[in-house]
Symmetry: D2
Subunit: 330 residues, 4 copies
């Protein structure tokens, strides 16, 4: 129940930004976009198919060993908890065309209070974790399962129920606006390996196998300032050139206040290369549309960017995702 500090603390970061020129500079020296062919190359070079067995359903969560969990618990020093979810998005908006429904089933007239909710978990509004069945490539899912296993009755392989015992590990916040000394990334602004490593370096932490990386782009602050608009028109996120880094570091799960992918993707004929390669090739679970502003405040105040984290998906048999509220514990 902690974490009550207001967002004003983030203003500290705001005052640190030196100038727009710096950003200008960075943009002009950005790596060039990858080609579809390079992405296809990743489908070979970054593949985890078979790495944890022919019937593996967990992908890079296999990086989280019991020892990793034990070590993550050792990070708890202040006892502060921080939730990383947005409120369920019940209001239609340019970035939420199919809002969640929330209705009451009982109120004063029945003598108790009960409710009902309904939502399509994916999209650009609900904080959620993707199951590995969420994305296909050329008729195939992670680890080679065929697309036919995805039916109108759900995904018969790689469903979200595989995560019934939750994800517990070390979490690391990579706060890119902070690393770049800006308030937020602009819609469509790509993030490169250099950004990830600067954020690590600023936090004196190195991402290691089994870590849950939380990638902050400042999306919700951008939305406040720039207004809501269709996600396809622009979201800050990872450039596809970061994929090998995710693989080499052994990231277990990747959360983002956007959808991890920069949109548009900068790669011709690949809408979502991060989703496609992370999920299908690497078996890397993604968490989309998180709310990482409270976490950013906590990291500033706690003076560290690593923490214990627990993710507790709902168990939806054959489901493609679960709404999720990752809980960071400092």
């Amino acid at each position: 129940m902690s974490g009550g500090t207001t967002r004003r603390s983030l203003d500290v970061a705001r005052h640190r930004r030196e100038d727009a020129a710096r950003r200008e500079c960075e943009m002009t020296t950005s790596p060039p976009p990858l080609s579809k062919r390079e992405i296809d190359g990743f489908r070979q070079s970054l593949s985890n198919w078979g790495r944890w067995g022919d019937r593996d359903q967990l992908g890079t969560l296999n990086h989280i060993t019991a020892d990793k969990r034990i070590a993550s618990a050792r990070l708890v020093r202040s006892g502060r908890t921080v939730g990383c979810a947005r409120s369920l998005a019940t209001q239609a908006a340019a970035d939420n065309p199919q809002p969640a429904v929330h209705l009451m089933v009982a109120t004063a007239s029945e003598g108790w209070a009960g409710d009902y909710f309904a939502l399509a978990t994916h999209g650009f509004a609900t904080s959620h974790i993707d199951a590995l069945c969420h994305i296909f490539h050329e008729g195939t899912l992670y680890n080679g399962y065929p697309i036919e296993r995805v039916t109108a009755h759900g995904a018969l392989e790689l469903g979200i129920q595989e995560l019934r015992h939750g994800i517990v590990s070390r979490g690391i916040l990579l706060d890119i606006p902070r690393a770049r000394r800006v308030d937020f990334l602009e819609p469509g602004e790509p993030i490169f390996i250099a950004d990830l490593e600067r954020a690590e370096s600023d936090g004196s932490v190195r991402v290691e196998p089994g870590d849950v990386v939380m990638l902050r782009t400042g999306r919700w602050r951008a939305r406040e300032v720039r207004g809501p608009r269709p996600a396809g028109e622009g979201l800050a996120g990872l450039d596809a050139s970061c994929l090998p880094w995710l693989h080499q570091r052994g990231v277990a799960a990747l959360g983002c206040d956007g959808v991890s992918d920069v949109l548009p993707s900068r790669v011709a004929d690949e809408l979502l290369p991060i989703h496609s390669v992370a999920i299908v090739t690497m078996g890397l679970h993604l968490l989309d549309n998180l709310q990482l502003d409270d976490l950013a405040v906590a990291c500033l105040e706690e003076g560290r960017i690593e923490f214990h984290v627990a993710i507790a998906p709902l168990i939806l048999q054959h489901g493609t995702a679960s709404p999720a509220n990752p809980i960071a514990l400092f």
Copy 2:
């Protein structure tokens, strides 16, 4: 991703039960049922109204201090995780007349897999945590908020969004069938303070302020054997005489594989005295319909009944509950 041991380990417990005569004996020496007047007395003697301020919305979760969370993290020794939720209950049954809906929004024909789900969270089938707005008594909610704050647009006080930063603390499993050397409690069988204390004693642990108590009745094994039936016809759970114990021990949250209340309640004119006094009078959050069989196996195998636990509710503004999958970490 651990906890994969089959339920066969529970057979250990089964073989320990000595005889049906023992149960018979216990039943005949049960404390007599409380009267409605005694329950009304609890509404005074066990009240936490104003204890944490006039505007408090958290109730007994205030028992969970930062130090309590830090200490709970110190319990992590094996790194084993155990989820405590059932699969979302999409099948109608005698104990689930309004099943959850789970549908796909995209499959092979759309090139990705997405889904939708809808549910009325309360009832007797979904693992969930009640918000403190869930129950009223004589026109009033916990801490004196008036019933008029519960509208058809949700509960304007005590909504589930108050738990946005999650619940992290020490968890303790009180496995009553194990304490009684039986396979499961029969539908309608009450649990008394003596049972709770025997379970503590068997586990060499004492419930203390801020603990999250998980109360196992063996409901799902009873259901396998006895078949599903309407919950109102009989669920094992706490006798109302346990309420002072919950108060004195400073339980922060109480989870159960049933609904904590024994049904029928044994108290004339009080359908759900545990719900009513725990939620309205004490501000004690209840978690209903959990799946505690995996946790029971883990406790047996780990040789202890205490663990670190994280509960991560979805943030549903003005909501009366959230589906939940508490994650125990050993």
Copy 3:
């Protein structure tokens, strides 16, 4: 299955309009807005409470006698049918913030095709008929039923199930843009008794007791040209001064491509005077958000504005409305 003529026929009407000046003239001679006090006067002078008995649940549908239905069938001469509903509004828009959900429950993978839909019937997007429980005034529903009869489990009086045998009568299209020689009314443009009577006169028909009046404002053509926007910002519809006319003529049910009320209402402190007086005082069923463009084409081509009409609500016990597709038969 008729009615396939394209909307181009409406262009006939377009070419008839003489000039904008005419409209200008009409606007400047509009009756002044009514006051809230005058509306309150209607609550006395136009009341049908008790007219059809203390327990009446049908209101002005009592005007539809068996003879009226028989006569309506005599109007059938060409055999042409025309539906008056929009497609269920599954896309979010400025005038549809809570879109209907439409999902498949089975497709090729299951060997049959089945679906699911969900919607909040009221609002400004779905063609529907209001039940008489939909609107209250000072704690009371039509015919004096108390507001307490509307619970979180539905309306225990005046629910839509009262219409289980459907509405069959004479229908009359009052096409106001046609009467005014314009393409469509502007958002927020009020309609007065003079307009209604000009439309009658143009069609050589007089609205009589038991008729179902279909009021066309050209809303969907306005939406094409002006774009979608929140309904509260402006919808063409009846000025409150038309209420006595509806009463005197004995209109049985009133449909509109808007919501019958002009928005804003022109009456200070009365958001929806037509809804309030028609439903609560008169017991007059309203149909909102109809699609009357096909009907307008048919009337032009058939050379008449009267027809047989059948409205077949779904039977939703204690429901406040039903989606509806009135079928006109010429």
Copy 4:
């Protein structure tokens, strides 16, 4: 708003039944079950593919000409209306495992009454009309459309929106329990051509091209007496041998208080031969789970089994069905 006579009139029919022996006799002389091969023969001999053009989406509704509609209006003599739908089935039961959801979006606390409902239209509980996309045979839909046109986003051909202008024609009630002088058919009891023709003969009417046939099995009275049970265990309905009769007579649409098919089907390896051949081969729309008891009473009291009927589906783009309340007008 008529049709209020109680079901007691049906007792007239009950007293007419002579004896159980008669039924026994009929059953023993039943035609033998058809083979799958004979059903496959129907797929050739009864085919309407191409009959109304390569792009036809309406099937046997093409039998309803404008003249047919005009003639149907001539049948109106008493002005009585009768709805043919059940209340939406919001209660789980053995024959309704996925009940409709009905919730309020606004009540007294919001100053108006509004609601929400959600349902999977098919199944054995909701009165509905099937779209022609509902059933496939060997990868193909009616008129040769390929199964690939049925996606997770709906059916791109033969969707229910094709019926946007409604169905209006002559309706004929074939009340088989009345024809057999029994109260209701037993679950699983088949209906043969002789039954259909006896019902015609008793009513002095002959089914002709374009008629909407309403087939009453007495299902809801059987349910009252025998209790609800899974539909697959037994529903009265047409034996597959009736298919040629439906074709020869030119039935435009077929409604039933069951699902038209007798269940089990009596045909080895064909679960639903009526559904399969009627929908896929003939393009004949079926209406399932109607409530025909009120209609049976009306026919008795009106002394005739033919009437004007209007069916007004909701327009659900790419939908596989619509809930429907056919309105008979005498």
